[in-house]
Each structure stands twice: as C-alpha cells, then as structure tokens.
Subunit: 197 residues, 2 copies
C-alpha cells in the first residue's frame, strides 16, 4: 500500500514547490528554469517536459496556490472560532511566510502584473476575487455577531484589509525581524476592528 516511490514527491510537484518559493521571494521576472534546475536536480530541458513554457508553469503555480489557500481558509472557517479570532488566523497566513522572506505569491505577481502573460493575469485576478469573497463573508459574520461594524460594506472592508496585509508584507521584508515588523504594522489596525490581538 505504501511504497517508497509514493512517499517522494512527484517531479512536477517539486518543480512547483521550488518555483513557488522563488516567485514569493524574487518575483516573476527574476526566477529562471536554471534556478529550478539546480535545486530540483534535473536539467533545464526536463522542466519543459512538465511545463512547456514559463507562462504555463506560473499559471499552474497560481492555480495550485489558489487551491492551497482555499483549503487553508476552509480550515479556519470550520474551526467555528469567533470571527475576530478567525480574522487573526487569516492575517497570520500572510505573516508566516515572512520567516523565509516570502510574500504572498499574488502580492508578488500583483507587482509584476503588467509583464505577466495574460493567462497568468487572469489567475491572479481570480485569486484576489476569491480572497475578497471569503474575507467579506467572514467580516459579515462579525457584523451579524455584533463584533464590529462594516463601513461602507463587508466587501469594501475586505479589499482594504487585503491591501493592508499585502502592503505590510512589502514594508516588513526589509526589516531585520520582518515577522515582528509585520505584526507591529497590522495589529493596531486589526485592533481598531475590535480584534483581540
């Protein structure tokens, strides 16, 4: 039932893992097949077997990332914790990558947006839309539970919060302890939203 091979990650997955780490650190334009090649331990040409072009690779990357974050958000929602605690958990998703100098994949691709192939742009837009939807629903629950007030709407507040989280990542990264810097930036703003941070 459990053989050795199935315990090792498939090559395509390894490629995406490495690519994701590089894009989250350096952005779209600054990573290359050669970089992946070295770290995965196969030749550049072999990567093209799995992902014919860079556009193709990054498109799959964002798709997989959307699914990963969808699951992470589901886990938070299913915890049935109060909305303010769930909001904090959501913020921590953005915080934790900073331990390895990694911003959210789509924060980086948002900066690179104008140079992205159109299919990738489309995925990035969908990512933002997906996050806004989920967060707006959470904020609405907080409204219903009298935890806070949404102004002018849960949807608008969601966009503002995501903007803040993304911006905080970029601002925190140059700091020596970016993890702590991130918290110092966002906790006051979350507290304003009646979150016990």
């Amino acid at each position: 039932m459990v053989d050795i091979d199935s315990m090792e990650k498939k090559t395509a997955e390894q490629i995406l893992d490495v690519a994701q780490e590089m894009v989250r650190r350096q952005g779209y334009s600054a990573f290359s097949y050669a970089d992946i090649s070295k770290r995965v331990g196969i030749r550049k040409a072999s990567i093209h077997y799995h992902f014919p072009s860079k556009a193709d690779l990054v498109k799959h990357l964002v798709q997989r990332y959307r699914e990963m974050l969808g699951r992470a958000c589901d886990r938070i929602a299913r915890s049935n914790a109060p909305a303010n605690e769930q909001l904090l958990e959501f913020a921590h998703l953005y915080r934790d990558g900073l331990k390895q100098d990694q911003a959210c994949l789509c924060t980086m691709l948002g900066a690179d947006y104008v140079v992205l192939p159109e299919p990738v742009q489309e995925e990035v837009r969908q990512f933002f839309h997906q996050m806004e939807q989920w967060l707006a629903a959470l904020l609405q629950r907080g409204c219903d539970d009298q935890l806070w007030h949404c102004n002018p709407s849960a949807k608008q507040e969601a966009k503002g919060l995501i903007a803040m989280l993304q911006g905080a990542q970029l601002l925190a990264r140059p700091e020596a302890d970016s993890f702590a810097a991130f918290e110092q930036i966002i906790y006051p703003l979350l507290r304003a939203k009646a979150v016990g941070a």
Copy 2:
C-alpha cells in the same frame, strides 16, 4: 539667459525619466538598457556613459525620487491645510500614478527587494524611513488638533497607512479603472481616521 539647449532636458535626466516610468510599471528585473535606449533615442552603450551599471542607475533613481517626494510633502505641509486634508493629499500622491499603471517606485522596489544590489536596498530603506517620519509628524499634528486619536502611536499608524497605500496600488492595478478602484479601497479606511474624503 535662456537658450534652446537649457530648455531640453539633459540626457541623464531623460534616462532617469524613462527608467522611472519602467520600474514603476514593471519592476527592477523586467526593465533593460535596451528599453531605455529605444525610448530615449540613443544606443545602449551611451547609457553606460551616464550610469556605469544598472545598480548605479537605479540608486540615482531612488535618490532623485526621494528628493521629488520630499518636495511634494513639503508643498503639502506648507499649505497649512488641516491635517485631515493634508492626509488626503498625501494619499492622492499614491493614487495619481495609477492613471498610467504606475505604482510608487519603492512599492515596486520593495517587491523586488531581495534581488536588489545592496546600495539600492539601502536607498529603499531610507525612502520608507523618510515617508514614515513625515507621515508620523502629520498624524501627530492631527492628534494635537483633536482631529483623531493615534493608536498606539503616530509612528505605528504611519507605517500602517503606508502599507495600506502600497497594497491598495497593487490591488487596484488589475482593475479596469484602477484609479477609481484605489479610491474605493482607501476612502473607507481614511474615513475611519476622521478624514472628510
């Protein structure tokens, strides 16, 4: 006193103008000497006469940008308008570039931070520091004038606001009308700060 030559921008300035536009759109890794060459109308090699290396060029770029923004902030401060109106003017500095798909130079370089040559990283850190200082002073004036309350400090609020403005730029750019999208993201948050937006 006024001859024709002095009315035309010096080549070095033209190079910086074009480079700035490109970095603000595409980021550090995605622009090249070839791009500048085409748009300024000189050969690649000639650019190296003015700026020996890319690191050198971008370092000067950020220095000039810091001076430009220093002057823009001075103008706002000297208007003697109420602090809430000055805050709105400050936010509009971030908004206006979006008309040409341009984010703040250091929002982009913040995303590219880990791949920047160290001297450029230093300039970027100084830029953020400079903006935080100025904004913190403005927020403090608003406190003194009872326009709002700073929590936990003007300095921390300043960082949060800059994070929000930067994030809002990245989030707004994929939208069809990024200018309007930016306003929709930040106005609710500024209103929370008692700004009549």
